[in-house]
Amino acid sequence: MLSYIFKRVLSVVPVLFLVSVFVFLMLRLTPGDPAAILAGDNATPETLQRIRDAMGLNEPLLTQYVKWIAGILRGDFGTSLISGVEVLDLVAKRVGPSISLAVLTIIIAVLVAIPMGVIAAWKHRSWVDYLVMSFSVLGFSVPVFLVGYVLLLVFSVKLGWLPPQGFKPLSAGIAPFLERAILPALTLASIYIALIARMTRAAMLDVLNEDYIRTARAKGVGERRILFVHALKNAAVPIATIVGAGFALLISGVVVTETIFNIPGIGRLTVDAVLARDYPVIQALILLTASVYVAINLLIDLSYSLFDPRIRY
């Protein structure tokens, strides 16, 4: 087990290395000059050149890359070219809202989607099934921002039940946190619910066709126990996998949702940074999200052995 974990963690290194190369190259090939952004409307070419020198943008690419990686290994992600704030500091202040939003979303999605999927599989080809399936296909088919705007229009603007924007950390209390986080989380959850419900249903249908379910029925096990004890645990591996894979989806959702509900998270930070060509910030953020993605999927891989005793490392 330990040596397996070690091997898996080690296997992450080349992936993250490639991510860092991709990001670095993509950014440096992008037109756009942080110096020009910093200097504003009145800059002369000469000033731009001097600012670029000061930022180290005139060095060879390889040197810049090596410096960057060396910095990361020392825990130094550099400073924002635009605001001069340290990247780590910038990111640290923004991580909280995004994480709490993501966690809330996953909780909502799992709580809603898994029962939905289970019931749909149980009542296969009934109206419940069709309803759940329609909802989940719809969840895939509506642009996230449309969901966000409609929720906003209904619950904040028309009904006035919830504030339309902003974020309060959990430390400010559960009620204030939920008040502002619930709409964005629902928006984000719409597609996630669709994804998980769909996978749960498919996995459950597979499992329900298995011989051991027939065995359980032959023992006289009741439907509820069959669904939630016998079937669900067997369906857990693909469901856990989709929760991990869906994390990628969550990230793009977060970017949009944070924009709509004006949440100071890393999604917006990244878009802003890309549009401003704030290289150190973008590099750090993409490396960070990629690491989180890889880590989550690693954890999920390792969690398989909790669900399925056949999987041992």
């Binding site: 037109p31 756009g32 000059d33 020009a36 952004i37 910093l38 200097a39 504003g40 409307d41 009145n42 800059a43 002369t44 070419p45 000469e46 000033t47 731009l48 001097r50 600012i51 000061a54 924002s80 635009i82 605001s83 001069g84 704030v85 910038l90 202040k93 923004r94 906003l152 904040s156 603007v157 006035g160 504030p163 339309p164 924007q165 902003g166 924009t259 709509i260 509900f261 004006n262 100071p264 917006r268 930070l269 802003d272 549009l275 401003a276 060509r277």
Partner: protein, 528 residues
Amino acid sequence: MTHSKTLSMKAGLFASVFALAAGGALAETTVTAVMHSDLRVLDPVITTAHITRDHAYMIYDVLVAEDETGKIQPQMADVTASDDGLTYTFTLRDGLKFHDGAPVTGADVVASLQRWGKRDTGGQMIMDVTASLEAKDDKTVVWALSAPFGPFLETVGKQSALPPFIMPARIAQTPADQAIQEHIGSGPFKFVTEEFQPGVGATYVKNEEYVPRSEPASGYAGGKVVNVDKVRWLTMPDSQTAVNALQSGDIDLIESMPVDLIPLLEGDDTVAVEKRAAFGFQTMGRMNFKHPPFDNPKIRQAALLAMSQEPVLAALTASPEYYQVCGAIFGCGTRLESTTGTETLTAAGNPEAAKKLLEEAGYDGTPVVLMQPTEAPTLKAQPVVAAQQLRAAGFNVDMQPMDWQTLVTRRASMEAPANGGWNMFFTNWQMSEVANPVISVMLNGRGDTAWFGWPDDPKIEELRKEFIAAATPEAQKAAADKIQAHAMETVSYVPLGEYNFPQARRTVLTDMAPTPVPVFWGLKKSEE
């Protein structure tokens, strides 16, 4: 929108009585404002971005400043000029202290002015004729010129884009190309560094040590009395979110309110929508003088003939209430106003004449690369409308959408359009930034060192010198008229009219100063 002032005042009164009863008088008052853009760069010398200037007005003070009539008045210092106009003496008033507790000295002033003089166009021109700039003692700074500089005080006391803000000498010694790392001024608010989050917002607290002048506030002059404890600037990329937040009471002020969304606030008496100041912005198009087809003055003129201001303004600002067709490059209703050469521009344009002129000039269909920023709300409409107008006159327009950051990078490229250069782009100026030929960067005709577009126009340089040297207002006006006529003939740029986005404030905010730059002294916030 307020329709009945008395009603809202009464409501405010009730609210404050209630707040008193509840013991709320001790509570901190915080004003939360959504500004026109996100504050990212904190150094007011390194960038001309308006939001950075607004930030600087919060935490820094200036030597002299315009009052509401545009006259220069003392702020940090009294100033006297020698009779020959060659020596200016600044005397700092008492009680000036930086946020770190150090007193403001002449040395700080000199260092700040010198850093400013390296970056600001007007400052550079003064520095060109500066004989010496020295602190005589802790309170006195003497600025000696080698030649008279007519608009000296106007330049030192200007409100935009780079006013000379005074910072401690140790900070002002940072090279002008490097951003400063500490944000300490002597102004009425202090910057809370820990709460600064680019992309999210910034926080300022009242500077309790600040000693305002005794005169009442007027424009940027007079006593900067702060009546609130804290000001928070929030960034909201989506203006609709800001409107929602204003209505829900999350924020108190939207500095730049999209006119389209004003109907949403109608019938809400807790919110007032109003123009902040008489003068707003000039929107304009600039052509690249270096590359075909706009290296040909006739083709530039044809483009001028093809264009018409009103559709551009309508697409940008929505309602005639908030825009004004105006051909004067120094602004309408100003001392230097002249509309020579803009008759078609302020009417419906003259595509027919433009076509004829194009033919005469032998336009061969070279594509005109028009840069369009896709995500900047006040900049994305102009090129779209202009492209349609130019096409109607027979131009072959290649509109290239890009984000604003790509645009500002690309406009610095002197390459041919095919190699990453450009032919035309659009931007906006606060009226005070184009108010005279010294300040307006578009009128710089010094070729490669001129502003983007790089016109090599010795004639306009001569005319600008004439303006600087002009001794009387009448002579200045005469020079300005000539510049207007010349600028339109060579099409230095295409003024596309003036607009003025209103602000939207919750009526709990009162006594806001009617300055073009949004300043936060003077205003009061009543409890709800």
